[in-house]
Symmetry: none
Subunit: 406 residues, 2 copies
Amino acid sequence: MIETIRELAKKTDEKILMVVLDGIGGLPMDIDGDTELASAKTPNMDALAALSQLGQTELVAPGITPGSGPGHLGLFGYDPLKFLVGRGALSAVGIGVKLNAGDVAVRGNFATLGGDRIVMDRRAGRPSDEKNAEVVAQLKEVIKEIDGIPVEIYTESEHRFVVVFRSLGTPLGANLSDVDPQETGVQPMTAVAHDEASQTTAQLVNSFVTQAEAALKGDGQVNGVLFRGYSDVPHFPSFDDIYKLRAACIASYPMYKGLASLVGMDVLEVAGEEDALSGKVETLKKNWGEYDFFYFHIKKTDSTGEDGDFAAKVKKIELFDALLPELLALEPDVLCIVGDHSTPSKLATHSWHPVPLLIRSKYGRKDLAQRYTEDEALKGSLGLRRGIDIMPLLMANALKLQKYGA
Amino acid sequence: MIETIRELAKKTDEKILMVVLDGIGGLPMDIDGDTELASAKTPNMDALAALSQLGQTELVAPGITPGSGPGHLGLFGYDPLKFLVGRGALSAVGIGVKLNAGDVAVRGNFATLGGDRIVMDRRAGRPSDEKNAEVVAQLKEVIKEIDGIPVEIYTESEHRFVVVFRSLGTPLGANLSDVDPQETGVQPMTAVAHDEASQTTAQLVNSFVTQAEAALKGDGQVNGVLFRGYSDVPHFPSFDDIYKLRAACIASYPMYKGLASLVGMDVLEVAGEEDALSGKVETLKKNWGEYDFFYFHIKKTDSTGEDGDFAAKVKKIELFDALLPELLALEPDVLCIVGDHSTPSKLATHSWHPVPLLIRSKYGRKDLAQRYTEDEALKGSLGLRRGIDIMPLLMANALKLQKYGA
């Protein structure tokens, strides 16, 4: 399909704004209750929804819970079952680290280990970014290379960091098992190579874990490391190539910037802390004339869902609603509001549930949906779409796709 | 997709109960009338539907009328356009006959032939199982081998029997045309091989027809045989392998047991005649602790539809509704009610119409559908799903699928 879109796409002046409310889909806490979106007071989104087309999207496939990478790839039109990218590579690119062929990037979590190396907290109590940077500095002192292979360690945010193992000619494999057991009450796992090329990488990872625990053993909270998501360097056809779009990313968390960068978007500077809402809006306004496509990412709708904090997620939705008029004032030709997956507070993690999808353009049909909520989306005219169907719909609404066939 | 599910599936304690109401989808006799489901008084299903998610499913593809084999394969998550299994193989496995590579199993119907071999009744007036066994015994006396190839004949039920041609080294092909003309008023057809490997099989089949008619010519009702569904021995990845589910089949008709067995389910004993409703419930209760997945099959909703008996189908639906509380009392974590295809009484045969789909779990969204009927299913939140999407949705609702990608 991406090949067909590439052939049909044409450059026009129309501008597309894709707002991704991370993890926006939710669940009622009780079956007859309201979801986070339905509970939120969203006068601006309500007014917009009445003039828009609504529907739902499943980013990867029915029943499949998308990770952030596959969820976003779906949104950007790259079939996440075909285009695979490891979280390590995403994170590395997101913090501006250039990866070369043969290198392996690994996503790490700082963790709290108890007696006998039992994992007590897989996120080490979510340390501050400052604390994270301190611990990374401490590790960089001790681990500069392992078995002659250069090792780079980068701070990401909170409990997250990235390790890059630099190939010295022989490509390092990225096909090995996780250290992160994905549950507490058990020990970290030993990484095991799944192929010949990943033997060395497994040794590097296991040695890193041992050395890091030794270096951090004085710390009561941040005293272990967990790895999952090893990745070699992925190659994607670019946004410009496929869609003929000059595209920009406005996000504040590294992984999302990394992903946007992998598909060829310019990653714009955003001023401010954490989700930096007003900084993002400023960046959007300032760069509005320069691009045809903006990917505008809001993170905290997901983080609050992952914390299982229903009220906080509702609040984050309302905060987005409050800044919506500033986005509308820019008069995008096509505006899309969507998420990369659901993160119901009830589950406190990503889920498989479809995400509401809103598209506003001059070329929409009348639609019964009156709010951007899961319930109302069912009444929408867009139906239930796969993630990869969204970009063609946005391109079409921007009159950027030529007729297929004569 | 099945490969992705295999990678994501994990073993948990949650239990899934999939109730298959065979041929459940229907049609109104007049366009403004009610379907069988809508006409039935189903207080228990109604109460359940109000707390469940509804939708519809097409088991194979839009417009395609599923046979029971493909319909069930879809329900079990095996793409029926890719995983092919002949009805003969299903029936053979269902009655406990072990097939070896190279053998061919053939599904037969006893028929009533009139003068000049014209087919008067393709089911020979649906003889009793006892009569069926007598006729099979009679045929076994005369047909033990044909051209040196061993021939086994098995009774199934009513008008159905199974023939197995045993390979003597050279594999027998199963690519040949039917003997069953699928209509009355014409002669049985001569089987024609579609490839070299099936030449011998075609000769065996045609010779069997001739010999059987000679042996049965004294019987006014059961005096002919019709064949369709030739099959060699299929291989499937197992339910346990893909889904990590210890799965059990509770069904009373051979074909369904055979299919369940092919995908690796344990086929449990059911006491009782025909649909054996109370026997099935007893078996379910007795084995509830032993399995993670139950396939619970109800046949008579289809048989009555095939007879074109609207009122009888309504009655069978109401009989199922009456035993639903016993299923609910077991508190399955995920309950699914679905069919393997529609069998509208108006058509008196399988049809292409979507089948209502109901899923109840703790993780559903509110939904406007209030009954398990074709009309109400349109208001549901699940939308219109392919058959093979159902298992991933059930697995997700049972929290048995890990996140896809980081």
